[in-house]
């Protein structure tokens, strides 16, 4: 397992969802989304069917990667918050636990001040969760091998069958 790998158990996932749900209600947002820096969606709450969440996750990660590049040019470690203001919808993007991207989509029903405040509170909670996950992975690496039986059972025939459905 590479150091960048992250293994979340169902319990972790539930805790993350809970924080996101609370953030969405308290900031009056339409969607709250957690994405890893590679563009993979981790969890999301809200009107997720109304938007192309895969595209949103990939573009957000690209956006953060470009902004990280800008930060390096200026000698900054990172720009931890990005804001995009539209006529009706706005996107607040922040980096949590140095590796995960928290995205809040909100309209003019809410306000930037409220979103900032609630994001700060949620980020602290997410930080704790991700720190605990990292500590557990270090302490009990064996526990994190749940994926192994699945991968061990993949046969050449299984792979050949892909694309043929």
């Amino acid at each position: 397992m590479s150091p960048a790998d992250l293994v979340l158990f169902e319990e972790d996932f539930r805790r993350l969802q809970q924080v996101l749900r609370k953030l969405r209600v308290e900031s009056d947002a339409s969607v709250v989304l957690l994405v890893d820096k590679n563009g993979q969606r981790i969890a999301s709450v809200g009107d997720v069917d109304a938007l192309d969440m895969t595209a949103l996750a990939s573009l957000t990660a690209g956006n953060v990667a470009a902004t990280d590049g800008l930060a390096r040019v200026l000698g900054e470690r990172e720009f931890s918050v990005l804001l995009h203001e539209g006529e009706k919808e706005n996107i607040h993007v922040s980096i949590v636990a140095r590796r995960v991207i928290l995205v809040v989509i909100f309209s003019d029903r809410s306000s930037l001040g409220l979103v900032r405040l609630r994001v700060r509170q949620a980020a602290a909670e997410l930080d704790v969760t991700f720190r605990e996950v990292a500590e557990r992975m270090e302490r009990e690496p064996v526990l994190h091998s749940g994926i192994e039986p699945l991968l061990a059972e993949i046969t050449d025939e299984d792979i050949d069958r892909l694309f043929s459905e």
Binding site: S2, A4, D5, E10, F13, D36, K37, N38, G39, Q40, D52, T54, A55, S58, L59, G62, A65, A66, D68, G69, G146, I147, E148, L150, L151, A152, E153, I154, D158, I159, R161, L162, F163, S164, E165
Partner: protein
């Protein structure tokens, strides 16, 4: 690193199309998008300049079927090929599971192919990967052009580790799906090996 989501029973893999400018990376993705059933593909995103040169990346999510009851979803990215977009290429290699190198078969583009492979090796190292071990497929594109070098000779120049090498003409669609199947196979076999 591939992402296995047990909650929704999905495996996600990130595959990056790399290669020199105007070599046909975006065209590969456009063909895959055009020839895949709409229920199996997401939107093709292209962050391109006004002259349709890739500026940051193209992105296409594809569902290629089920593996042990898990939907297998490939996230395909193509990088900008032009030399000065190196920062964008580096950014896209984060978390990559497999690389397709799209080589331009025209003899005049041989130096550009060689330089792009060197650049790939350097950028992979920067991102913590080794070109010698990462799943990798070489596509010899533009086989339909009269100025194309003989495939064997081109492969001798560009092959680095006996990787699967496929001939293609992305402009007509030839070899595009075969290339994707080859890299998907390499990525999944690598996942099994690394478990």
């Amino acid at each position: 690193m591939a992402f296995v989501d047990f909650a929704s029973r999905e495996i996600h893999c990130k595959i990056v199309y790399y290669g020199p400018g105007l070599g046909g990376k975006t065209k590969n993705l456009q063909v895959l998008h055009a020839r895949t059933c709409p229920s199996r593909r997401g939107q093709l995103l292209s962050l391109a300049t006004e002259t349709e040169r890739t500026l940051f990346f193209d992105f296409l999510p594809l569902d290629v079927g089920s593996l042990k009851g898990f939907r297998t979803r490939l996230h395909l990215y193509s990088v900008p090929g032009q030399v000065f977009y190196d920062a964008a290429r580096r950014a896209l290699l984060a978390g990559v599971d497999g690389i397709v190198f799209v080589a331009d078969s025209q003899a005049a583009r041989l130096p550009a192919n060689v330089e792009s492979i060197r650049n790939l090796e350097k950028n992979l190292r920067h991102a913590g990967y080794d070109l010698g071990t990462i799943p990798y497929v070489l596509q010899l594109n533009k086989r339909d052009l009269p100025s194309a070098m003989p495939a064997g000779e081109l492969a001798r120049h560009l092959s680095i580790k006996g990787e699967p090498t496929l001939e293609a003409a992305a402009a007509t669609g030839a070899g595009v799906f075969e290339t994707l199947k080859a890299i998907a196979r390499e990525v999944l076999l690598d996942l099994r090996r690394r478990r």
